[in-house]
């Protein structure tokens, strides 16, 4: 009886947290890097991902490669940027400066991981990221998971 009471209290606390929108933020472990099944890319380093997402690297494994993002307010994007960019890197300022200097254009950003997968399936030159829980559905989306090596 006492144990059941504890569970009930825990449920109440969790409900309250969800109600207040205090869900746990996504981390690097919560995402996977994907490319088209037609892409020759099998492995990618964090350095290469960083260079691709900063518009510096445009070819990999002998093929054209372009990045795609989800919208800036998506928690998945925050998790990705925390994984790829160093602490205190201001991506917003980087793209503003790039525009001022006639540099590379920022990656296209779509609403939600569903559009990311559709975009990559249609355009095999793109690389993107999905929630890790979608790993079992990647094959059906005509995508494949890329192994991420360290820097």
């Amino acid at each position: 009886m006492e144990r059941l009471g504890g569970v009930a209290v825990l449920k109440h606390v969790l409900s309250l947290l969800l109600l207040l929108g205090l869900s746990t933020p996504l981390t690097a472990q919560d995402l996977i890097i994907v490319v088209s099944k037609k892409s020759p890319i099998k492995e990618i380093s964090l350095f290469q991902l960083r260079e691709i997402y900063l518009g510096n690297m445009k070819r990999l494994a002998g093929k054209t490669v372009r990045p795609i993002h989800v919208k800036p307010d998506d928690p998945l994007r925050h998790a990705f940027e925390d994984l790829v960019f160093p602490a205190n890197f201001d991506a917003e300022e980087y793209w503003q400066n790039s525009k001022l200097q006639g540099g590379p254009d920022p990656p296209p950003a779509v609403r939600g991981w569903g559009l990311v997968s559709a975009y990559i399936a249609k355009n095999p030159g793109f690389v993107g990221y999905l929630p890790a829980e979608k790993i079992t559905e990647v094959e059906a989306m005509q995508l494949k998971v890329v192994t991420v090596a360290g820097d």
Binding site: S45, F47, Q48, R50, E51, L54, N56, M57, K58, R59, K63, T64, V65, R66, F85, P86, A87, N88, F89, D90, E92, E93, Q96, N97, K99, L100, Q101, G102, D105, P108, K122, N123, P124, G125, F126, D151
Partner: protein, 339 residues
């Protein structure tokens, strides 16, 4: 055909070659990935004051810049910029002028080989290509850049690119130009044909080191040959937190009254968070623009932040010493607005 004729013939042939051979996007990409037109502008407000006798504080809009980019496809784009400038030197002297700052065609063939043709930024060292106040992290530029000993803009062609060696990026920029120095009338380079090469190696957000070498020859005065070397290094001492950077310019002149010009700076930048930082810089060099070539040293402290997407703010204090003059202090504030 003389040298100038050959230069422009090569320029036009290259430009037409790029236009004719800019293929549509490869199969891997959608037909139109990026927006065709990008328009932008920025403006700023500058306050400058110092404790020199007879000084008058400056508090005015200092820059207004309009720029546009047009992208035909994944390879070919055009960039143009016009700007009005009113920025005092260390003596409080300034002129208001408006200029065509940049106008070029860019052909991005692949990572390793790309081309710019037209009036372009001079890609030498670290500060020179980002010399605008809006992209710098201080209000006063380093002496070597404030004097524009190497022209900030060049007219000609630039071949540039990068190679990847594991997790390192090896970048280069080679330019052939007909340069016009718009800032310092008695600069070593007023108008001259030149060649420049900048080579650097970097590991992103860890370090960057490189050297630029330039050669200028003034066709009107065969005694005004100039060669310059600009080694530079940038290193994240604490990745994401503490950045150190140094650039050193040594220019050898062949003129009657001078044989060289030297200037360098070294700085430390502490990044509090994504938006705010503290910058400490020590400068030393021959200052042609402000004090007629005498040596100036300066220690500068800058606090900067970015507010929202539109505003960049900075406050700065410096202590300056000019050869044969008393030390003086300068303080300044700057607000930049991007839209």
């Amino acid at each position: 055909m003389n040298w100038r004729g050959m230069f422009w013939l090569v320029w036009w042939l290259t430009a037409w070659g790029c236009l004719l051979h800019a293929q549509e996007n490869p199969d891997e990409l959608p037909p139109q990935q990026e927006r065709r037109w990008q328009l932008g502008m920025w403006a700023d407000l500058l306050f400058l004051d110092n404790d020199r006798e007879g000084n008058e504080a400056f508090f005015k809009p200092a820059h207004l810049s309009f720029y546009a980019k047009y992208r035909w496809n994944d390879k070919l784009s055009f960039f143009g910029e016009v700007a009005g400038t009113r920025e005092p030197d260390i003596g409080g002297v300034y002129e208001s002028d408006a200029n065509l700052e940049r106008l070029y065609l860019q052909y991005e063939w692949r990572d390793e080989f790309n081309l710019r043709l037209g009036k372009i930024d001079n890609q030498m060292g670290i500060v020179k290509p980002i010399h605008w106040l809006v992209t710098l992290d201080t209000i006063r530029r380093p002496i070597l850049e404030d004097n524009s000993y190497l022209p900030a803009k060049i007219t000609g062609l630039e071949l540039f690119g990068k190679f990847y060696l594991r997790d390192h990026r090896l970048a280069y920029s080679f330019s052939l130009s007909d340069s016009n120095n718009e800032i310092v009338d008695d600069s070593p380079i007023v108008r001259a044909k030149g060649a420049g090469l900048d080579v650097s190696i970097a590991k992103s957000r860890l370090y960057r080191a490189g050297t630029a070498v330039v050669f200028y020859r003034d066709p009107r005065d065969k005694d005004r040959n100039v060669t310059g070397v600009l080694p530079y290094v940038e290193w994240w001492v604490l990745p994401g937190r503490l950045l150190s950077r140094s650039e050193f310019l040594n220019m050898r002149l062949e003129t009657a009254n001078r044989d060289h010009i030297q200037a360098f700076y070294t700085k430390l930048k502490w990044q509090f968070n994504k938006r705010s930082y503290l910058n400490l810089r020590y400068d030393r060099g021959d200052d042609q623009r402000s004090v007629a070539g005498r040596e100036r040293t300066a220690g500068t402290v800058t606090l900067g932040t970015r507010i929202g997407n539109r505003w960049r703010l900075r406050v700065e204090g410096s202590t300056n010493r000019i050869e044969d003059e008393a030390r003086f202090a300068e303080w300044s504030a700057w607000a930049g607005w991007l839209f």
